[in-house]
Symmetry: none
Subunit: 188 residues, 4 copies
DNA sequence: CATGAATGAGGTTTCATTCAT
DNA sequence: TATGAATGAAACCTCATTCAT
């Protein structure tokens, strides 16, 4: 049920990860605990599902942006991917923010890794077709690219971003990533 | 007591955040729970202390590196700060890794913010003296600098870094940060 | 419905008494829980019914055998009753086995007592007509007779009877009961 | 703690197996649930321990009686073993009675089998030395002997034995077992 | 009649914390 | 000061039962 999903995020934000109990989530969702357990076999499964949906959305956004800019110039690629990433993370800013707090409660390592792989694959494929640059170790470079987007985003969300900074974020991240890629591009 | 400190990290790494109980920590430390409670008034305080020590170390390393390179060129500054950051995080790699897992158990936001401020202040002060560049919004730029270091480091530690990547990390991070700063430097 | 009956026994055997839930029984029976509750007002009633049918069958077998051997000799009586008892218990060996596990879940004392009374009454009436023996305290003797049959049968079913022992059981039980009755018969 | 032991039996008798909850046991024992769980890691372990102590006592009584009558005559052996068994079961009649109700709640099959083996071994060893009888299949015969004691005892305890019957039980059981053994003894 | 999602009381278990020794 | 048994609130989860469809 979708109400349970939303309730989980709300409780996470309102009460914190430590106060997130199945009972509280059910209450907030307006259902009984029993009902919650009919949809999710246990607490971990619930959190896992919430995290998964969020990560999947972000990954899809990145993949779409990457696919759409194959064969473009670096600056276009970076603008597209960074834009998609920031937008996906920011669109449901509460969700993203809340989920940083559960990822560690959870055996989510595999899930996080899998999504990270997906992102890197999309980025690698994209960069390989750049019209104005060529790269040596695409695995390493796409890893850095991803991490370079994740770092400031996380810092911003966790820090309680000021509106001004949030607006500035996208431009700065483009600068960060583009600067890096140009620095690492093989000499023509 | 220092044994309690170490025990906390060991338990965190061995059993995970969910299994970290005061009794288990005391056991691992070779003392009784009662003793543990004589040093730390409650579980949160213990975790807080552990997190604080780690963050303080990193902050000190960054501050020292930043102070040492006042008036130097950008590339020297970046090399120093990135080197100090990576070294501090990597030196006690288990500790760093373990602590990512407690941040959520804890109302550590304030602590994390405070340390982040410290880092940014040090970096701002440093960048203001760069011999070969000048910047407009130092607050924003030092924020991005910090976040650009944190992102790949975290990704690497959480992902179970391969030795090869770990070695490559430092160079890549220099590239990332230096590329960014040059891109953002005001035209001479 | 008979499917519910069978399902109950299957669940009991397959999953144990602790795992026997109304939902599981309904599922196994291929109906919905709601339907189950239209046939049995509650879980106890279901178990009660299953136990009752089993006990009734055994009692009927014993009664028939007893009635059929009125006025016969002791050895004939014992052979008939033991044979009927063992056959009835063994015919649906899974059922018998399963039911030992619910007796405690259930306030079945009264039911068990009532059936025991029925068995003893039939046996008493039979023994009173033995052509070659007379007894003093028929209530006591028929109690012992019943219990002497029940003991080894239960031990065998609960212990997971080896085929060899199962075959031997009937002869041994005749020996047990006949030896007892002859020992207790009043001197002619 | 012994209070928990006793409380378990009392709750079993007073409230029935279905009402036996860890909370209730702790309450009755005058301790907190937490304390209960410091002595027994879970509910099953508690019940298991109670059952085990009872069965061990009975087995010890049977073994002692059997050992003490090696080389005696059958009638002496039977009197000793039956006497010991009935006494052990009757001494703590409430305990014995209560335990019939948990044995099935529990994965006690192995325990029960092990104790049964112990009893049969003791009885076999004893019977092998009888001065006035020899037997063919001692495994089978000791199985029947044990079961012949268990049957009436159980029937009596479960049925709510009348004092008169309880007194008569021992004599009747001797008669039952002795009659059987004589019937099965090989011809001299 | 049949269904099965929803309910929620109640069971088991954990664990931060205290305090008498 | 150190100990660790005792505490009990509170978490997770189950499952008999109901009732709108």
């Amino acid at each position: 049920m979708d109400a349970i999903f939303e309730a989980t995020i709300q409780v996470l934000l309102g009460d914190g990860a430590r106060r997130l109990t199945t009972t509280r989530v059910a209450e907030r969702a307006g259902v009984s605990v029993g009902t919650l357990y009919q949809y999710y076999p246990n607490k971990q499964a619930l959190l896992f599902a919430v995290l998964q949906r969020h990560l999947a959305r972000v990954a899809e956004a990145v993949e779409a942006a990457a696919r759409a800019t194959h064969h473009a110039r670096l600056s276009v690629m970076v603008a597209a991917v960074v834009g998609a990433f920031v937008h996906a993370k920011t669109e449901r800013i509460d969700e993203a923010c809340a989920l940083y707090r559960v990822a560690s409660e959870l055996d989510s390592t595999e899930l996080v890794k899998a999504v990270a792989r997906r992102n890197r694959a999309a980025i690698s494929a994209m960069l390989a077709t750049a019209s104005d640059a060529r790269f040596d170790d695409l695995a390493l470079i796409s890893f850095m690219f991803s991490a370079a987007m994740a770092g400031p985003t996380r810092a911003m969300l966790e820090g309680g971003a000021s509106p001004k900074m949030l607006r500035a974020l996208r431009g700065q991240m483009e600068s960060l990533c583009l600067g890096y890629l140009r620095h690492e591009a093989l000499p023509a």
